[in-house]
């Protein structure tokens, strides 16, 4: 009896449908979906926190929330949105889409991928367990010292912050390394660097930034915890430390982080927008280079967050100028999108609307950003609601709107069903109008002198009307998000069948069935252009035609192809790991370790450490298959 190829691949790659499979799977598609759902739940939690704040601020002298509760709310809202939503949601898309986009059967390190998800989930729960003991982080998302030192913040609040972010940083870092290696080693034969989709450039740049920037936050958080619980003095001026050390470490991380949460999102738009304009992206090379340039420049501008701290003015001039320069690559990207729309034939699906809205918000957020990069303006506006408006235009505009576009664009690939377009249009317009109604007036509130992070304000300052409008807008925005949730839940079951390529798009992921089989590609494709599925209608790029039927099938065990870093010449067959419980065990060990540190309990911490060490050894120990191959190789 002849075994067909797909049946055989299925047997190798399919994760068992039982509890073991749930806990041990290393399939990038499952992990990607878990990332997306978890990060989206955090978006909802952060949104509920915001809703509480907007209720409190909707009128003067309201007493819905105590000042302490308000402090906790804006802090956990910022932490949630920045760390638990904005970056992980992009990792979710990248995890799901990347291997499909590059014609591979999985990421370079599937078990590391599982580990990165488990740590994300458990560190998120760790931070949120602060709610159970009523000691939520309450010193803002950037937690300036010395307010965070134990004299001024005695509870566990800031320990949850310092330890939680250190813990989460592990997930971000291993995830980033996985993306980098996947980018350079697993692209399908023929997918040379000039054929890589922009979304991958964006995620790659973000990942490299993470590798170099994340440790700065980790160091800051560890030093903070040492100060707080081990009696050290890093941020304590009276014993030779310095509170400004925190600010430097935090913003060395913090500014690159802004690009980390926007570059992959910009990449999503650069890849998806052309599909709805029925033409390739205008200026591919410029956009790719601009992406990389932004990532590099992002490391040179951290001081612009500290203009108001009394630094030497030469330093401020330099960093102010650098902050102006960094707008140039962003402008390149904006021009490329506008040109793509301009020269394209628009198909105004919901995904397109979200991307058009994204471009509009990008421009508004960019203008207010340039204003604050000018040092004198910054002195005027820092710590006012102008900043709150600016940061939401940037983060919601560039991240949330791109993410929504990503959902409308790729969910059909993930679920096999299209989202509803009618509801989708409502979804977009309610969100877009609600957002502008909610956040544009905050610019005005800021110019009227309203400081950020105040839990209430007296009447008679002229702030009441703008704040009421802001609050109404925020609730309208929330309704928009709710419409999306309804649409998603409805479409998963009832949506129209998508088929492999519902948008008639040009990149590799659309050559697979929707949803793709566990092994993604039965035959590893060979790529000869930037748009392998559009070769019949685009002028040839000179390399011949891409192929989906003649290529490697490598069905013996879980295997995929390793290619060279630049030209993607096939180099070797890579053996991929089986499903494994070690990632979960390792992440659980770390959880115990961090709870042990939280309560300063050596026993719990020791147990956690021991489990972690055992898990690492078990993980790295060669599998039976490898040992067998060793036996065979022996003379």
């Amino acid at each position: 009896m002849a075994t067909t190829l797909t049946a055989r691949l299925d047997r190798e790659w399919e994760t068992p449908h039982n509890l073991f499979g749930v806990l041990a799977t290393v399939d990038h598609k499952t992990i990607g979906k878990r990332y997306l759902v978890t990060a989206f739940v955090f978006l909802i939690l952060g949104g509920l926190e915001a809703a509480a704040m907007r209720a409190q601020l909707s009128g003067a002298d309201k007493r819905l929330l105590s000042p302490e509760a308000y402090n906790q709310l804006f802090s956990i809202h910022g932490v949630t949105m920045i760390f638990l939503y904005a970056s992980p949601i992009l990792s979710g898309f990248a995890n799901y889409i990347w291997p499909l986009l590059i014609g591979s059967r999985d990421m370079a390190f599937p078990r590391l991928n599982a580990l990165s998800f488990w740590i994300f989930l458990l560190s998120g729960l760790f931070i949120y367990s602060s709610v159970l003991v009523g000691q939520v982080p309450d010193r803002g998302w950037f937690a300036y010292a010395p307010l965070t030192e134990s004299q001024y913040a005695p509870g566990l609040n800031m320990d949850f912050y310092a330890l939680g972010l250190t813990f989460l940083g592990l997930s971000t870092t291993v995830g980033a390394i996985n993306f980098i290696v996947t980018f350079f080693k697993l692209r399908a034969p023929g997918m040379s660097l000039n054929r890589v989709p922009i979304m991958m450039w964006g995620t790659l740049t973000a990942s490299v930034s993470i590798v170099f920037a994340m440790p700065s936050l980790t160091v800051a958080c560890i030093l903070l915890w040492f100060d707080r619980r081990l009696g050290m003095h890093f941020f304590e001026a009276s014993a030779g430390g310095h509170p400004m050390l925190w600010q430097h470490l935090f913003w060395i991380f913090g500014h690159p982080w802004v690009y980390i949460v926007v570059l992959p999102a910009m990449g999503i738009v650069s890849d998806a927008l052309p599909v709805f304009c029925r033409r390739p992206l205008v200026g591919y090379t410029f956009v790719a280079l601009a992406t990389i340039a932004t990532g590099i420049l992002g490391f040179g501008v951290w001081v612009h967050h500290m203009f108001a701290t009394g630094l030497p003015s030469v330093a401020m001039t330099f960093f102010g100028a650098a902050s102006m320069v960094i707008t140039i690559p962003s402008a390149v990207a904006v021009l490329a999108w506008i040109a793509t729309i301009w020269y394209g034939r628009i198909v105004a699906k919901t995904a397109f609307l979200f991307m058009a809205g994204f471009v509009v918000l990008f421009v508004i957020g960019g203008v207010s950003g340039v204003m604050t990069a000018a040092v004198p303006y910054d002195w005027q506006l820092t710590d006012s609601y102008f900043i709150v408006a600016h940061l939401h235009y940037v983060l919601v505009g560039i991240n949330v709107f791109a993410v929504m576009a990503g959902f409308y664009y790729w969910m059909p690939k993930m679920t096999g069903r299209l989202l509803n377009e009618r509801l989708g249009k409502w979804n977009f317009w309610v969100m877009f109008l609600g957002f502008n109604l909610g956040f544009f007036p905050m610019h005005i509130a800021g110019l009227l002198g309203m400081p950020r992070r105040i839990y209430t304000y007296p009447s008679g300052l002229g702030w009441s009307t703008v704040n009421l409008i802001s609050s109404i807008g925020a609730y309208v925005f929330a309704v928009g998000v709710l419409l999306f949730i309804i649409n998603a839940l409805w479409s998963i079951r009832r949506g129209a069948i998508a088929g492999p390529n519902p948008w008639d798009a040009g990149t590799l992921e659309w050559s697979t069935p929707s949803p793709p089989p566990a092994y993604n590609f039965a035959v590893i494709p060979t790529v000869r252009s930037r748009h392998p599925l559009w070769e019949d209608r685009l002028p040839p790029e000179g390399g011949g035609r891409s192929s989906f039927s003649d290529g490697l099938t490598i069905p013996e065990g879980r295997e995929t192809v390793e290619t060279s870093a630049l030209d993607a010449e096939p180099r070797a067959v890579l053996q991929m790991p089986e499903d494994s419980l070690w990632p979960l065990i390792l992440a659980s060990g770390l959880t115990a370790l961090f709870y042990g540190l939280l309560i300063v309990g050596p026993v719990l911490a020791g147990i956690g450490l021991a489990v972690t060490v055992v898990a690492i050894i078990g993980w790295l120990w060669p599998s039976e298959r490898e040992l067998l191959q060793l036996e065979e190789a022996r003379p």
């Binding site: 996947t182 050290m232 003095h233 430390g241 310095h242 492999p500 180099r571």
Partner: protein, 204 residues
Amino acid sequence: MTAVPAQERDLHPSPAPLPVGGRESRSPGRWGMIWVVATEASFFAYLLFSYFYLASMARGAWPPDGVPELKLSLPNTVILLLSSGTMWWAESSIRKGRAAALRIGLVVTFVLGCVFLTIQGIEYSHKHFTPQTDAYGSLFYTITGFHGAHVAVGLLMIAVVAVRAFLGHFDRGRHLAVSNVALYWHFVDAVWLAVFTTLYLTPR
């Protein structure tokens, strides 16, 4: 599976057989380790940045109670460098297929690493200040402590690889684990040179 791909057909051998595993020096596993080292190196760079920042902001003498002595730390530096040499020897031996030399090299490196940590401990016990004394004390113990922790992790990795070496897991073509542990160990030594220069030499 919902849809049957067009390529459904009987199994046939791959068109151009590729080597399974391929060259280890270019493999994803190797790349992964290089990036782990990159992020760890940044971690130490930020620790040393903190040192220089607080040093530049210090109002009194720096270090507050005199420059740290070289009596123990200099020989200790030599020991760690030596261990890099033995590690290098171990790795290049297995590249040539000499499994016995690999085992010896790993064991010697392990012992030298343990000696380093012991001397470090002795130096700690001679210190007149603690991490709680002042910011300098916090920096000194945090920086050397994190380095020491990395040495300990390196030792654990060497131990595991040594056990595998005795089980005969490595040969001329398959020794990625050895190469990665070696890379990590050289990195830990390089960090020590940076730490040593910062803490012991720059204040002189």
